[in-house]
Assembly symmetry: C2
C-alpha cells in the first residue's frame, strides 16, 4: 500500500446514483458528447454517476472504450467525487487497470463486480480475487463498493465474504450495491453492516422507504437515468422525515420500466427526447418493438411523467 | 466482406484439440516460455491448439495478455493452421479485435463464446451479435466455431440459432464445440448439421466413440493437455475402425480428472513434472488441497498414466 500518509478522509457517499446509460452513435461507437450531456443532466439533477454499471451495457464495452470514455468525462470537467464507475471484469488484471485509471483521474470510489465466468467460485477464491485487486492497485485512497447481482453473474457476494473483506480492508471495502431485489438479503446486509458505517445501496427506489430506516446509504437505480430530480427529492424527503410528494411518481415510473426489458425501454424513452440515436443498443440486447414503445410512452403519459429539463415528444 | 477473390480453400480441421492450459510465473504473469513449450509438446503429440478456452483460464486474462501471447506463439514459429484460439468475450468490439488479430497472424479458425453477461438473450440478439462480429471482421477467410458451454455462460447456442447463422454465413460459421456434456444435444446437433459439413466437436474423449459414427470432427478436450499423444492415437484408431488400445487409459484418465476441479487438477499434475510454477492459478480458481493432490497422483499412478515425453515425479 502506498499513500498511507497522504490519505484524505472521504465523506461517505449517500443519496441516489444512476448507472448511467451509454449512448451510441450511428456507427455503434460511444457517442461521447451525448454521454457527457447525459451525465451533466444527471449531476445537475442531484444524482451521482455509477457509470459502467449493468444498465450502462458496460459488459458490451471494450476495455479501451471504458478507459477513453471515463477520461473524457473527467477532462470535460465533471466532478470525480460524484463518480462510482464500474471497474469489475472477469479478469483481475483488467479490473486493476480500470481501477488504477479511475484513481489517476481523481475518482476513488468504484463498483466492483466479482469475476463472473467461472460458476460457483469458492469464498476463498473470491476473497483472493478481491484481495489481489486491492493489493495490486495498492492505493489506500481506494474505496471499493462490492456489486451483488447474482441474476447476472451467478456469483453472489455473501455476508461471510463481506465480513472477511471488511476485516482485511476495513477502510477500502466500504460498501455494496445489492441488485438482487431480494429484500431478505438486503435486510440481512443492512442489519449486519450498516451500523458499522458500511454503505449499502439497494438497486431500486422501491426499496428506499424500507431500507433507509435500517441504515441504507441511498440507492443506485436504473430509473435514476430518467427520473433523477424526482428520485433526488424523494431521497431527501425520506432522509429528513418530511412528506415525500415525489414518492407516487417515483414508484409508478419504476413499475412501468420494471415490466419491460429495462435498458431498451430506457433508451427508447431517451430516443424520443434526446436524439434518435439513443435507441441504439449493443447486441445481444434488442430494441423494444414499436408496440412496446408506444405502450411505454402511453403508460408514462398516463402517470404524467416527463423528463425534467428535457422534452419528451410522446 | 473483403478478400472474396483471394479466399483459399481450407480443409476442415479434424482430430483432437487441447484447450491449452495457460502457465503463470511467480509474479502471476503469463509464463510465455512455458506456454510455448507446452504448446509445442501438444503439437508434437498430434493435437491442435484451442488456446484461450475455458480451461486456459481465458476469462481471467486481459485483452492485452491475449494479444501478446498469441502473437508470441506465432512469432516463435508455431503453425497457425493448428490453432483455434478462443476470441469470444462479452464485448463485440473486443471479439472483433481479437479475431482480426488472429487472422492477421494467419490463424483463420476461432472458437467464439456468446456474450455471457446478460442472461437469456434472445435468439435475435445472438444472431445480431455474431453477425455484427462477422461483418466487422469482414474477412471471408474467417472460420467461426461456435462455443456451446451453457454451464459457464448461461447462454446456450441453440439449433435454430446455428441454422440461421449457417444460412447467413454458410462458409464462415463452420462448426461448434459442444461442452454441455449433454449427449442428447450433441446427437441432435450432429444429426442436424454434420452430414452437411458442419464440424461438431464434443468436449470429451469419453463421447468420441459414440460421436464419430454420427460425423463428429473430433474433440476439444481438457485432458488433451496431459494425454495428447494417447488421445491422438485413440482418435486415429476410432477413425480408421482399427483396434483402439489407448481407449482404456484415455477413459480412465478422463474419469480421474472429471472427479476433481479440472483446471487446478491439471495444473497440479503439470507442476509435478514441468515446473512448480505450473500450479499457479488466477483467482477465483483455487489450488487443490495437498490431500487432493496426493490422491490425484496416486490415482494416475494406479492406472499407469505418465505424461509422454515429460517425467512425472509422483
Amino acid at each position: 500500500m502506498t499513500h498511507a500518509d497522504t490519505t484524505p478522509t472521504h465523506a461517505a457517499m449517500t443519496g441516489v446514483l444512476a448507472p448511467a446509460l451509454t449512448p451510441f452513435d450511428a456507427a455503434g461507437d460511444i457517442d461521447q458528447p451525448a454521454f457527457e450531456a447525459h451525465c451533466r443532466w444527471l449531476l445537475d439533477a442531484g444524482v451521482g454517476l455509477a457509470v459502467f454499471g449493468t444498465n450502462s451495457e458496460a459488459a458490451s464495452l471494450s476495455f479501451g472504450e471504458r478507459l477513453h470514455a471515463l477520461e473524457a468525462l473527467i477532462a470535460a470537467g465533471l466532478d470525480p467525487e460524484r463518480f462510482m464507475p464500474g471497474t469489475g471484469t472477469c479478469s483481475m488484471r483488467e479490473t486493476v487497470d480500470l481501477t488504477r485509471q479511475a484513481l489517476g483521474l481523481g475518482i476513488h470510489r468504484v463498483l466492483m463486480l466479482p469475476p463472473f465466468y467461472f460458476p460457483q467460485p469458492s469464498e476463498e477464491g473470491l476473497l483472493r480475487y478481491y484481495s489481489d485487486v486491492i493489493e495490486r492497485v495498492g492505493d489506500e485512497r481506494l474505496r471499493v463498493y462490492l456489486y451483488h447481482i447474482p441474476q447476472m453473474t451467478g456469483v453472489p457476494i455473501t455476508l461471510p465474504l463481506i465480513e472477511q473483506l471488511r476485516r482485511r480492508y476495513p477502510a477500502i471495502v466500504c460498501g455494496i450495491k445489492d441488485s438482487s431485489g431480494d429484500w431478505a438479503n438486503l435486510e440481512a446486509t443492512l442489519k449486519a453492516f450498516a451500523a458499522d458505517g458500511f454503505s449499502v445501496f439497494p438497486a431500486s427506489e422501491a426499496l428506499l422507504a424500507r431500507a433507509l430506516p435500517l441504515g441504507a446509504a441511498g440507492c443506485i437505480s436504473a430509473t435514476a437515468n430518467l427520473n433523477p430530480a424526482g428520485l433526488a427529492r424523494y431521497f431527501a424527503a425520506l432522509s429528513s422525515g418530511s412528506a415525500a410528494p415525489d414518492e407516487e411518481m417515483a414508484l409508478a415510473v419504476r413499475r412501468i420500466f420494471a415490466s419491460l426489458p429495462m435498458i431498451p425501454a430506457m433508451k427508447y424513452v431517451m430516443s424520443r427526447s434526446a436524439g434518435a440515436d439513443w435507441a441504439q443498443l449493443r447486441a445481444p440486447l434488442t430494441a423494444l418493438s414499436d408496440s412496446q414503445g408506444d405502450a411505454l410512452m402511453n403508460s408514462l403519459h398516463e402517470v404524467g411523467f416527463r423528463l425534467e429539463g428535457l422534452s419528451v415528444s410522446a
